[in-house]
Each structure stands twice: as structure tokens, then as C-alpha cells.
Symmetry: C2
Subunit: 344 residues, 2 copies
């Protein structure tokens, strides 16, 4: 059973507060856009597909159920809400994709009464949510076809049920292979600084009784050299039209090591993660987060306070290191020129 | 001024308890071998050269100043002490090198009264300590010749004053370049699981006002891709006769990434770190430590308790990824066939 990461319940967005996992499972009802923007920024809700859904539902919180003087006032508010929610995190394009979908929906319905535009927007946001479930299953099906009995798979960060509405992108593939009764072994990178691998991926896999071993990020290369890993599956936050992929910091490190050891490296991401307005990875905006995430762990100092830090939240894996990208429309293989045709 | 990591003070071994750094600087006097074995095992004293010295001085604690019935009883005790201290940590060969040096000293003096053998052993242990200081300076001199004004250097784990009697192996090179007024920038990997980079290396470099930036282990590849690192310097725990080098877990990961980005990767280690009885890296024993080091940070859970872990304390970097090995006898470059001639 996938985790109920995000849902629309009684005019509020119900999320699991992921900053509290794995020690506590706390559900939280978010009722206004300020709280939603903050929840995305603080990673209470995270994962590219899930923050797309959070953005879409967030628009409903932003426009609320109050009366608007006229369509101009409504449109002004909608534009503000979309821009405000978009200011939460810059890298995952799914957020902007979902917000643009909401803007388009409002535009299509622009001549109808505000109350009906609102209904149409709710329908659209719930469609984004529902579709993500179907998309997860499709990606999982394609991805699992690449997994063989006995495979030992490395994954980085969390691309599971907590990152999507259903059971994930990269982890969805693993869940599906497990459902298909393939015997697999999973290694989860802890994923510093925010430990999504240790806190979230290990939690999801233990919950489903899948054979999972937690390792520190710097151990993967050594495991690869010792023949203990034979496939890598990761998610994505934004994919440029040439296949260059931004994902959680450390993904590029894994890709370089996989390449060196001739281990296939797969990216699993829905079509909404592609940004064909961007030619290559260099143009993807990379979020830099507070140095305290590096300097502290669970709020406690691990280094002298005076030390400088560098804390990019993502890195870019060039398409040359990627064996295939698995989407809900099928598997895209190098050269990635097919991206422009598949993603419209 | 190098840190006073280890010294012989009033018949005790005085160490900084490194598990308490950087938050507290606590000196500890160790008076018996059980405490010494535990201090090495728990990493209160750590770093290949420093645990060599700890082993040599530990022998004095083990034989104590009591009377022995005869030379046979003394020899029996000495053998036990050496074997017990050697059981603390398996990978760093400097410990065994120092213990063998003590055994040899006792053998050379075997015909003299026990009280005189004890004096000779103390003299020998203090020689190991004193020589390490001179060796650090020599390695630093050779190593610094490789550093240019403006270099940006990555280092992993702690190979500094806290790992030696003087100012370190890899960090010694950095200190020397800084003394020579070369403008350098240092990136320190935090080095999970035990965070020696964050806790110790950052502390040493901040203390000397060297420009240091702390990063998580998984960020180095991304920095390399962005041209922010142009040299890597690390220490070593055991070097096989073909140049394969065991060092802190994650070193191999850095070496693979440096190789991929054509960045020189240098190992700095005294002659005592070479084990020419071993042909290649595969034969180096790798210590595996408790899974709780991965599952917890600073004593707090970061993952579900049921999750399996893997926690090798070291990995092996094959000689093909090493640009040069810097010793107190000079710089050894590939092919490393010179090792057998230089290390006798």
C-alpha cells in the first residue's frame, strides 16, 4: 500500500510532514498558501511529482472561497498565488508545470462565473493528483521490465511513495519488481544533508519488507568495485531536452561511479519533469540551501560554527552517463533525440 | 602550532579525546592497556601515524613498572601486550609496524636486565613519536612543491595534526603551502559516518585561518564538474607494494571522480604505512564497524531501527587512480615499481 503523502480533504491539503519521519508519522492539514509555500520550502512535502500536486492544490487554497469584485480581481489574485507558490523551490519543474496547467485551466474557463472557474480549477488539481497515480504505475511497469531476478539496485535520495501520489518513480520500479516476485536487494544512499535516503527510502522499503541496506553516500563506489551493485535507479527534478538531468545532490556522483564500473544508470521520471524549453543541464536553476543543513545534523553542530559551507540541493547528470530514461510513455534510450518527439 | 594529539606525560599517554571534538577539547591520560586498546577502537585517538605512536607507547603501559619473575615471564607479558594492542583495529598497518619495532627492540636488548629492557623500550617508543614529527615536516615539504598559488584542494577524512604527532600527512602539505604564503582554498568532505572531516579537519583548518569550505561527501563530484577543485590530497592507512591504497571509506569514491574529471589525486603517507608483504589492495584487511554508526548520528536515530546497514571503515583505491604518493623519502610516481626500492 503506497503512503498517503498528499490528498485533498475538506478544503485542505493533507500531507505527511516528512521532516518528522521516520520517528513520527504526523499528518498535517494545510489551509492557506503561506503554509503551503513554507511546507514546500521546508521539505515537509517534497519530491518533484508531489510538489507538482502540492502546487496545483495550493492554488485552490490561494484563491479560497471568498467573493471577488470582478474577473479582473480574480485573475490578479490567481496570478499572485501562482507566482507566490512558484517562489518556494526553483529546481523541480513539475511545480511550474502544474501551476501552468492551473493557469491554462483558468484561461479556458475565463468567461464563466468565478464560482465555476473555481470548480474547474479544483477538478483540474484533482486530475493532476489522480493522473500522478496512473503515471507512477505505468513508469513502474516499464522500469520493472529492466529488473532481473537477483538484481542488486542502488537508489539515491527518495523517489518513492513520499515523493509522489502513488508509489514513486525510481522506488515504484522497485516496488513493482518486488510485486512481480523478483528477488532483489536494494542499497539506499543516506543522502546528506537532509538524509532522505535514511529517513524516507529506508522507511518505505522496510515497510514493504523489501531487502534494503542503508549505506553512507561515500560507500557506493566501494560496493560497486566489489560487485555488490549491478543497477542504479534514481528520480529526477528537471530534465533538459538533451537528457541532462537535475536530481538530488549526489546523483551525479553516483552516475560517475556507475559509469566507471559499467553499471547501468536509469532515471525514472514522468513527462512533467521534462523541460524542453531548456537545451542542456547548465541552464537548469540549482537551488542553494542554508549552510546550517551541512553544518548541523538534526539541529546539532557537527563542525565549528565559523566554517564556510556549500550546499547545492541538486546536481546535474549529463545525458552521456544515463543508460535510459523511463517515463509513463515508455523507455527513452540514448541518443536522447527522441525526447522532443515523446514530450510534447 | 600543531595540536598536541598524543604525548608521554608522567608514565601515561596523554591524548585529546577526538570523539569530543570540535565541541570540547578534552585531554585524557591513559594509564593501562585496556584503556589504550579501547581508545584506539573507539577512535579517541585515530589516524594511521598517531595510532602507531599510541601502540608503541601502549606497550610501556602494558609492561608497567612491576617486577617480573624472570625473562620468560617478561617476554610472555610483552607478547600478550603486543597482540592485545594489535587487536584494536586491523587496517592501519602503522600500528603493527610500531608494535613490531617494539618487539625487535626488546629482542635486541633481551640479554639485559628487565629494567634496562624497559628503558630501551621507552626510548624506542619516544623515538617513534619524535620521528613522526620530522617525517610530517619532510612529507609536507615534498607535497607542498606540488601546490600552486590559487589551487583549490579537496581532502577527505582527517589526515592532519590529529592523525599524527605533528601537523599531518595530507593536511601537513596544506599547512606547509599556507606557511609558504601560497593562496589556497580547501574543501573538506564531512566524511560520514564518523564525520572526521567536519569535526576534525574543519576544526584544524579554521584554527589555522586557512580558507576552508565544508561539504557533504556526495557534493565533491558536482564541484569537480564545475571546475571548483583542481587537486586532491588524502592520507592512507595501508599501501600495498603495487601502490593500491586503503584509506577512510569514501576515498575511492573521490579517486574515481577525480579520475573522471582529470584532477590529480595524491596520497601522502610515511614509509611506515607501506606493507610490502602485501602484493595488492585486495589483500588488505578492511575493518567493518557497527551498523549503528550509519543508523545513528551523534547517538540519534536517522533511519528505522530495523534497517540493515553496511559499514566498512575503509576502501581501497587502486594504484591506477593515484597520481603520486608523497613520502618522507620523496615523491613516488607511477608506475609504482619504485616502492620496493624506496621502502626497505
Amino acid at each position: 500500500m503506497p503512503v498517503a503523502t498528499i490528498d485533498w480533504v475538506k478544503n485542505a491539503v493533507r500531507i505527511i510532514d516528512q521532516t518528522k519521519l521516520p520517528n513520527k508519522t504526523v499528518y498535517k492539514d494545510i489551509k492557506d498558501i503561506k503554509s503551503m509555500q513554507r511546507a514546500i520550502k521546508r521539505l515537509e512535502v517534497r519530491g518533484a511529482p508531489a510538489i507538482g500536486v502540492a502546487g496545483a492544490l495550493g492554488v485552490l487554497l490561494g484563491i479560497g472561497d471568498r467573493d471577488y469584485k470582478d474577473h479582473v480581481a480574480f485573475k490578479k489574485r490567481l496570478d499572485y498565488v501562482i507566482s507566490y507558490l512558484g517562489s518556494s523551490r526553483p529546481t523541480a519543474v513539475n511545480l511550474f508545470w502544474a501551476l501552468e496547467r492551473m493557469r491554462k485551466c483558468a484561461k479556458t474557463n475565463a468567461r464563466r462565473p468565478v464560482s465555476e472557474i473555481r470548480k474547474a480549477l479544483l477538478k483540474e488539481a484533482l486530475a493532476v493528483l489522480r493522473e500522478d497515480r496512473i503515471i507512477c504505475r505505468k513508469m513502474a511497469g516499464y522500469g520493472a521490465s529492466l529488473i532481473k531476478d537477483g538484481d542488486a539496485i542502488l537508489t539515491h535520495c527518495n523517489a518513492g511513495g513520499l515523493a509522489t501520489v502513488d508509489y514513486g518513480t525510481a522506488l515504484g520500479v522497485i516496488f513493482k519488481a518486488h510485486e512481480d516476485r523478483k528477488r532483489i536487494k536494494v542499497f539506499a544512499d543516506e543522502t546528506r544533508p537532509l538524509l532522505q535516503g535514511a529517513r524516507l527510502t529506508a522507511w518505505e522499503l522496510v515497510r514493504e519488507k523489501i531487502d534494503v541496506t542503508l549505506i553512507c553516500d561515500n560507500m557506493a563506489a566501494s560496493l560497486m568495485a566489489n560487485g555488490k551493485i549491478n543497477k542504479v535507479f534514481v528520480g529526477a527534478d528537471r530534465i533538459a531536452s538533451n537528457g541532462d538531468t537535475a536530481n538530488k545532490i549526489g546523483t551525479y556522483n553516483v552516475a560517475v561511479c556507475a559509469h566507471y564500473h559499467s553499471i547501468p544508470f536509469y532515471v525514472v521520471a514522468p513527462v512533467a519533469t521534462f523541460d524542453i524549453s531548456i537545451k542542456k543541464g547548465d541552464d537548469i536553476p540549482i537551488e542553494e540551501r542554508s549552510g546550517d543543513e551541512v553544518r548541523k545534523i538534526l539541529g546539532r553542530d557537527i563542525a565549528p560554527r565559523q566554517v564556510k559551507t556549500y550546499n547545492p540541493a541538486f546536481d546535474v547528470t549529463p545525458h552521456g552517463l544515463i543508460s535510459a530514461i523511463i517515463t509513463e510513455r515508455g523507455i527513452i534510450r540514448p541518443p536522447f533525440s527522441a525526447i522532443r518527439h515523446i514530450i510534447k
